[in-house]
């Protein structure tokens, strides 16, 4: 079934992902030699060794968070691009992130908690669960609205612009909420808006990782349906696809992935939209049985690379993650837009 090119590229990506993962453990405000990283990971080094503590309690969860978040956003974007038959769809563009932000804001501001470095840091596991649930609800609400409009409008470009506008409107609403609640919250909110993989501790990973995996599995089991949807909903239906349940499941899965990442890491732009295009370009296929694993790998690699780049200034500070994402992702989007003008952009 899979061609040798697909197998070669996928194996190459696995190696690259491992390298990016190790690099994100080695590089940082101070770089740690590979040897010490491996010692810390395998438990060889003493538990009180400060280097081992840094690697185990800060860098390892951060790298895992980047890996899961990148995979989640890449796969969610792939699902949405196929579902909307729109090469520029992703969770950020279609307002999922904004909807999730709104849910997060309501819970955080409503509970009066969350005054820590990470906007949602100190709520504990139950707080995380409440925030995540609110984020998923908000994401589904916005995506449901966008879908309703998409059914009436039809024109993909219009749907995208409307999604962006919904997103901006909801984000503005959130900002107003935050501004009115407490002045210092605005600063925190802005910080959270930059996006970060650093706020997810081991404890929070216990919720973040399983939810992400559930979302990824929802995409993995629907590859046959997604492939049929490449030809559009009418053709899919004529070939035997139960379009409505498939669409519901895909939208729920994409919302879950987008919302969970937003709840834990902030709204992250550009990563999602770029990943499926890189996958299709590298693997030379639109087959989801290949693209879903590829999106997991490339999403993970991109997120780890962006995370590592954001830390490059070293002791002088940290670059906002979203700035790095934009620098990496914007060129891809520009290329897709240029192709769309020529009428050759497709999913």
């Amino acid at each position: 079934m899979s061609s040798s090119r697909e197998i070669t590229v996928l194996s190459g990506l696995v190696v690259l992902l491992a390298a990016a993962f190790l690099a994100s453990l080695i590089l940082g405000s101070t770089s740690v030699p590979l040897r010490q990283v491996l010692d810390a990971l395998t438990g060889v080094s003493n538990g009180t060794d400060p280097v081992a503590i840094v690697v185990r309690t800060i860098r390892l969860p951060r790298a895992l968070t980047a890996l899961f978040a990148g995979a989640a956003l890449g796969v969610a974007a792939l699902q949405m691009q196929t579902l909307f038959r729109n090469p520029l769809a992703d969770p950020f563009v279609l307002g999922i992130s904004a909807g999730a932000s709104f849910g997060v804001a309501l819970v955080v501001l409503g509970s009066g908690l969350g005054a820590t470095a990470g906007f949602t840091g100190a709520l504990g596991l139950r707080g995380d669960a409440a925030i995540t649930a609110a984020a998923v609800a908000g994401a589904l609400a916005v995506l449901g609205l966008v879908t309703l409009v998409a059914a009436r409008v039809g024109n993909p470009a219009t749907v995208l612009i409307l999604g962006l506008m919904f997103g901006y409107a909801v984000s503005a609403l959130v900002t107003v909420l935050v501004a009115f609640s407490q002045p210092e919250r605005l600063q925190q909110w802005a910080q959270w808006g930059f996006g970060s993989f650093s706020g997810v501790t081991w404890q929070r990973l216990r919720l973040f990782a399983p939810l992400t995996i559930v979302g990824l599995l929802m995409a993995a089991v629907a590859t046959k349906q997604l492939n049929a949807l490449l030809l559009g909903e009418h053709y899919a239906r004529s070939m035997g696809v139960a379009v409505r349940p498939v669409r519901m499941m895909t939208m729920t899965g994409a919302s879950l992935l987008g919302a969970v990442v937003t709840a834990f890491c902030g709204p992250i732009a550009f990563l999602g939209i770029a990943v499926p295009h890189i996958c299709r370009g590298l693997l030379g296929t639109s087959d989801h049985r290949v693209l879903v694993p590829a999106a997991v790998l490339i999403g993970g690699i991109a997120a780890l690379a962006a995370q590592t780049l954001a830390l490059l200034p070293g002791a002088t500070g940290v670059l906002p993650l979203n700035a790095v994402m934009a620098l990496l992702g914007a060129p891809v989007v520009v290329v897709v837009l240029l192709r769309a003008r020529r009428g050759t952009a497709a999913v």
């Binding site: 590859t223 070939m239 497709a346």
Partner: protein, 268 residues
């Protein structure tokens, strides 16, 4: 390979009304449609733009609900057929253009096995044979290895027909399959449809603007009349029916009549 021909016609409608239902009103585009398509028949549906050709075809393949009346496929009510079973009985080619980034044409044809393959879409040896047969039958062997997005419109249509054939249907429904094609490609598609009906004993219903080609190629013609009914018969019979109706109605042309109706429809 092909399903054995049954005594019941591949497609039969009785007193069918098709159209759209809004919250307040029912807007029938075609009414009292009682037509039949049998195995081995190439049926051509003629009518001007907006006369309801697509609406009828979409209703026949259950892409939209009928307003009234019955549709039977091989003697079984359309409403009683599961969507998987429907996909095994009816192959559909639509007007909408398909844009896929990169996928070999053969993989597009394999998508036609959706209703047969398992959960993961893995193809069995039988599926592969069906795909191979469909590619051969549609004359698309030379296209199989090429990237679908790089094919010409006519070549794409051939692949889309192969994909419909891979569903191993007894009925093939095509909505203006020659709409975007140049003259040569049109002739090729018509020849292919004629051949599939005759040699593979498929019932084929195809809508078209190519009146002359349709009259020359089709076994049966369904003509959409100004009174929103369908006159069905051999090409000669259909011609007579059309002539008589338009002379009685005293209208200049088919086209104008239809636009007139469309305006009424829009005004509503």
């Amino acid at each position: 390979m092909r399903p054995s021909p049954t005594t019941a016609p591949a497609l039969q409608t009785r007193n069918l009304a098709v159209g759209y239902r809004t919250r307040r009103a029912r807007c029938a585009v075609l009414e009292r449609v009682s037509v039949t398509a049998r195995a081995g028949e190439l049926v051509c549906l003629l009518g001007a733009n907006g006369s309801g050709k697509s609406t009828l075809l979409r209703t026949l393949v259950r892409l939209q609900p009928a307003l009234e009346g019955d549709i039977e496929l091989g003697g079984v009510a359309l409403t009683a057929i599961t969507h998987i079973e429907l996909a095994r009985r009816v192959g559909v080619v639509l007007t909408e253009r398909v844009l896929v980034d990169t996928l070999p044409a053969a993989r597009i044809v394999e998508l036609g096995r959706y209703a047969y393959s398992g959960w993961w879409g893995r193809l069995t040896e039988g599926d592969r044979q069906a795909v191979q047969w469909a590619i051969e039958a549609a004359g698309a062997r030379h296209l199989a290895g090429r990237d679908f997005s790089r094919l010409s419109d006519g070549e794409r249509q051939r692949v889309m027909i192969a994909r419909a054939l891979a569903q191993e249907p007894s009925l093939l429904v095509l909505d203006e399959p020659t709409a975007f094609l140049d003259v040569t490609a049109r002739a090729e598609v018509w020849a292919l449809l004629r051949q599939l009906a005759t040699e593979r004993r498929l019932a084929i219903v195809v809508s078209s603007h190519d009146v002359e080609v349709a009259l020359a190629m089709a076994d049966v013609v369904w003509v959409i009349m100004p009174d929103r009914a369908i006159a069905a018969g051999t090409p000669e019979e259909a011609l007579v029916a059309v002539e008589r109706t338009f002379r009685l109605a005293g209208r200049g042309s088919f086209e104008r009549t239809d636009q007139h109706e469309k305006h009424q429809h829009d005004a509503r």
